[in-house]
Symmetry: D3
Subunit: 303 residues, 6 copies
């Protein structure tokens, strides 16, 4: 018997597969951070998230046992082109379209937040999905450094423009951090998103936020995007754009567990940047959220 | 005058003694981590806890001045055998039996959590004691890697089997983390322990937890075991089996202070693993808890 | 266009100036830690705070846009003499007297907490000011190592003696940590300060603390001194005298934002010690507080 | 195409295999450090060596292209029992006996140095082999902490006693570090080993050492054991028993390359302890040596 | 007087300028790492090199006092576009063309090694220059990930193709590290470069290498490119593609000092990647080399 | 039996004593860094040097067994006043005068290099001693920041002025690093010191340097001062004024071993600054040198 910390590390110590065919849920990495405006390094996220995920066992603390109801595998990392944004967007879109075609639900590890756009292109090609978006930032800027429209600060504006998300069923939770202009939140608000800034988030508490989410997303399909910078930098220092004043991990866990039973079509944990991490705490937090996301999916399947 | 940060570091800058005789409370280390299932390193805990404890002054923030009512010393580290679990269990048992015989109360620094078993053998040989156990895990597994019954995941099952703890007066606080099976909590529950998982802990708050503890342990003798992994990994990254979503240090301090006046027969802070620590924050948290434990003991002696 | 993380780092990426003349607010560093009793390193604070402040954008999450109402510059670091406390006190006093003479409001980066004394000498020469003091310690000791009256543990006793602060309009918030004697808080209490220990702070919550502050300081001139050790060591490990059990960053942000509109004559963030920091989280927290202090000042000017 | 730094990390990015059958050389890890006398952590060596080995390409700087002449795979980690030395010795012995039976040459990643004993039991069961041993220590003690005969300080005395190594064809290179007694080198010398202490090693230089090795081991079968602590702690801080004054990495590379064409029956790199590493330099050094060992083996097969 | 470690950090604590006009030598940063194939982070190089350069005083250990013969300034960082390689190449080219037009000699801080291409475009537009290139890699690949011709592995092939460098007066020093194919060195060799692999470099020693350089470059104009990965990873861990077995810093210093008096038209230090650095040793090494490069330039001007 | 890494750490795991009386050699720490011009932290040197010294066994690699011929103890740390240079100088002088009066030889752990001055005052009060000084700097400046004559850059000018050292029997070895002016070495040269800059040191090699030392110091009494910054920053990053291009540890060991049999009246290892160390390598190097110094002293007593 090989100890948990040993062996070739796959996500959650799962078996490896070369195709999503035949699985209910697949873990996959997207080693791309070419959309990063400031501190890069999220390209190394999938490897360290796999590494940290060895600490995850089979059942969560609420008693949900995902492997009893779901067939799950690690299908490896998505091909990307570190030198070409457009090519990478295509490669990622195709990877997730294949997963969707196989009727598997992906739990993806970024990579920077730009990757959520091609994931949504792959998963929501046929109809827009609701979006539960945990983040310190809205990621709805139009462009950076002039005409660059595909960065980790723009994916959800593109997703709106492309009709990938259902704005009325979209929430952004944990917003904070300084802004470029007083109008930075306008696009998201005008699009119809429900914004929950940290001040409100603190007042609502995790359970109040869960209520707000459920009231808004209802029974339809939803995608969950978890930017690790929604957590406080003390909890998750290893990220590209840290912002003081975020969530504690236990609050994040409570919120994810509150999503049990929703119709989750996919999920991601992004912006884990190992070169900026200390003591692996960010990877551990990220891997834990990935496991909780799996449990939330499993809860909808009877676990 | 030698500055606090200088000189040979003893626990709390206390005088050294070679025997517990004549002291009310003794600090001692147990540099053993042979019971560790995953990341080892707690063997280095005593040294770094001594180092960090130089920051502790004489009086806690509640005004308790332990050295005015208690005679206290650092009696050095317990002998152990890094290559032999059974030998180490014996050595530790004898060390604490000597302390008990001297009528001193030990505040011990682990080492991994297995050391709590021989401590209890040394202290509770004549009658079972209540147990206030802060931890992310119940540590009541039966065995690991086949037939190994003495690991840091098993001490409290052994303690039950050996009649060392009074199950009706036992609480486990801060439980969380993924489980191997949905039945992992069954042993502790069936034994009669009161389990407080983090969800409930968050609802109760520190004061509510203190109430629950006091209601259960009453006036009888109690042992306090503080596994530093009850704290959140952001607060205490330097530990062998970190679990996202734990207590903040101020919550832990509040809880320990709530135990003032109980009949504390001994206490430990375990699972501080310096090789995995960052910036010494885990050692600082651990040393702080050791000082608060001393104050809680002192409070029962009129401080 | 130069990315935010590049270029010569000034505070908040502001233009540099050689004089405070003509500015409403000036950022300045005080690279002095000769008053440190234990772990030094705060001399490196200004540089790392500048570095981290590159992550601050133009508007805070509450929509305050300081640069629309205030003219602000980085005027560089104050001259100091690393080998001579008295000379350094004079140099710092003169630096801040010049700022006051220019009718600019300083937001200063320490250095250790002793620097608040000469800042107050420079700013409050003509009348005492109220003091809003966030700290784990009262810093009102009389002397250290015999007759040394100017250390980071004594500035506010000296400030009282010198009539620089209005004791009835002074609060100390976040006090905790072990004490040398049970009488350590007596001086501050007898002087008339309002002390808010962490236990009370936790009960009041950030909004309750803000109420207490506002009730006490009223409309008169106030100085805000923010010792980064008021934050928990998990949030701010990079400091000279860390004390377990402090504030979270979001609580600190909430409190500073609650001071909007007060008559703030100056502010500092002190005791950021980069050699003890991990992952830059302390510098990030400190830089964030500096930006929030600027916004609080701006709020009083119509932002 | 997946970038080198991404994907599930195997040794040298090699394909995984479940059996050594059909391969010329197999990489395998031994995640066991139960023989460690001081700082443990080598149990995590295999994982970080795999991680660092992603930086290794296909051909070494001398032009040796091992994959053109050898069929190579990563066969995963050897099963071990973290709580039972004797059981672990058996499990490792069987693992390597299977490799030997398959006529594959193992390049193993420790684990602490005790693992070389069961490797030799598996490989040299039928006849003793020469030993080229790079290390700061002879590892020929008799026992530790009383009667413990199987620790990382004893494997080569056991190997002599068990007839696994040909003492006349054995060298220990890089010896240094303080000793317990002036007689610590006696056993190895009396056994007939050639000892090259660092002073002599510095005089000989890498080429002189290679000559000494070749003169001694001749054409017979040899095993190469590379304890990373033969390197200087500045080069390889991540190890259990660091000793100032060791080899530079380029010297080690030169020596390994000098072994081209020998009849190498197996090799290991041991004592890489990631928890004590900084910046991954030790893992990088270790992975580089593993690749050079592969090249040395390939050189004997016509590469 | 402001201590060396304080104040806004410019290169070598030099005055800042907004234009190269009127200066003999200008320091400038290029915060771009979009050409990185593996571990990014060199975008943060300029800032940390400035930070570390505060330790550089006015005269080198050989007595060369550059500021007595040269007018030198820090002209800030070159504008770049983190999302667009071609745009960045243009921006950098123009920046250096302006410097060349001002007849100033640039000492540049990368950024990844791709930046040397646009620097050469800016400096060598009128005639090819000799190249003294310290590196573990030749950086003469044709493309990566398909058709990407502008990466940090390709600048010198592009420079040859564009006629920017005089191949007969070009050396590459410190080559080592594993290769993709046995033909990886062919392009450079065929182009006429003199390659000095580490094996030869060790035999020649720094003085022998200097002789080889001088014999080859003669009196004509030369550019010096110093990739910090020519140093050993123990000396310079903070880099994108570390390769075991490189130079010591004292060897590099000796080599640079050997270039005194050459007709140096520009120089760079590239691939310092602060997120991967430990203890700032790589930045310190890089800043030291930048200062030595300045001294080598000064030596040609009579210092 | 307590493992080496455990227990209260004294230097070399020696018994503690409260007085030097009756010992041949005493280890002692001087936790003072008030003379530091740049990065402080050497005040923490004694504690971490004690910690690292647990790895030192009883006999050095040359077979010298100091404890067989010398009675040795750890007498704890010297009292100092962190806020008062002159007071600290007096306290240290008296501490070492007491040691000298007891006819014990001190091996001291700094603290910054200023401490060598009061050590010499204590040891060389009656006659000047030869000085073997390993350092990147001459430490013979006159003053810093105006009139401050007692800093870590001035001790040996003061020692010359006070007649404490015999200039004709003084060497400074390992000098390098940039200078403030071309005349920085003049004082030392004019005083009659033998300066060995790194360039010459590299040419001489350790054995040549030993010859130069022996030729100069002869049979008279000598003091050895080892500033850890004589080592390369890769080997010893944890120091206040690191200078690229220094010695390797094995070279330093070889040089110290070459001093066997000299009439050593005392020795120090200074400028180990733990807050700037990485992975404890500097403390390990420093502790190793302290042990070698003990062995060199022992060699003169027949070991």
């Amino acid at each position: 018997m090989v100890p948990r910390f040993a062996g070739v590390p796959t996500f959650m110590r799962l078996p490896q597969a070369t195709s999503p065919e035949g699985y209910d849920v697949v873990f996959t990495g997207i080693p791309y951070d070419g959309g990063t405006t400031n501190r890069s390094g999220a390209r190394h996220g999938p490897r360290e998230l796999r590494n940290a995920s060895s600490l995850m066992r089979q059942v969560n603390a609420n008693g949900i046992a995902p492997y009893e109801v779901l067939k799950v595998a690690d299908i490896g990392d998505c091909p990307v082109n570190p030198f070409d944004v457009m090519d990478s967007l295509d490669l990622i879109t195709r990877h997730f379209a294949r997963i969707a075609a196989a009727k598997a639900i992906p739990v993806a590890a970024g990579g920077d937040h730009l990757v959520s756009l091609p994931i949504l292109r792959g998963l929501a090609a046929e109809r827009p999905v609701g979006l539960i978006h945990f983040d310190a930032h809205t990621d709805t800027a139009d462009s950076y450094f002039g005409k660059n429209r595909y960065t980790h600060g723009t994916p959800f504006r593109r997703a709106v423009e492309e009709g990938l998300i259902d704005c009325e069923r979209t929430l952004q939770i944990g917003l904070r951090g300084s802004l470029y202009t007083p109008r930075d939140y306008d696009y998201a608000r005008n699009a119809g998103f429900r914004l929950i800034l940290m001040d409100e988030a603190t007042e609502l508490g995790p359970d109040g936020i869960v209520q707000a989410i459920r009231a808004r997303v209802g029974d339809g399909p939803v995608y969950i995007s978890f930017d690790v910078d929604c957590l406080d930098p003390a909890v998750a220092p290893g990220t590209g754009t840290p912002e003081a004043g975020g969530f504690l991990t236990r609050e994040a866990q409570r919120m994810i567990r509150g999503l049990n039973g929703l119709d989750i079509v996919g999920a991601d944990v992004v912006e884990v940047s190992p070169p900026f991490d200390v003591g692996g705490v960010t990877s551990l937090a990220g891997a834990t959220i990935m496991f909780e996301l799996l449990c939330a999916i499993a809860a909808g399947r009877g676990a």
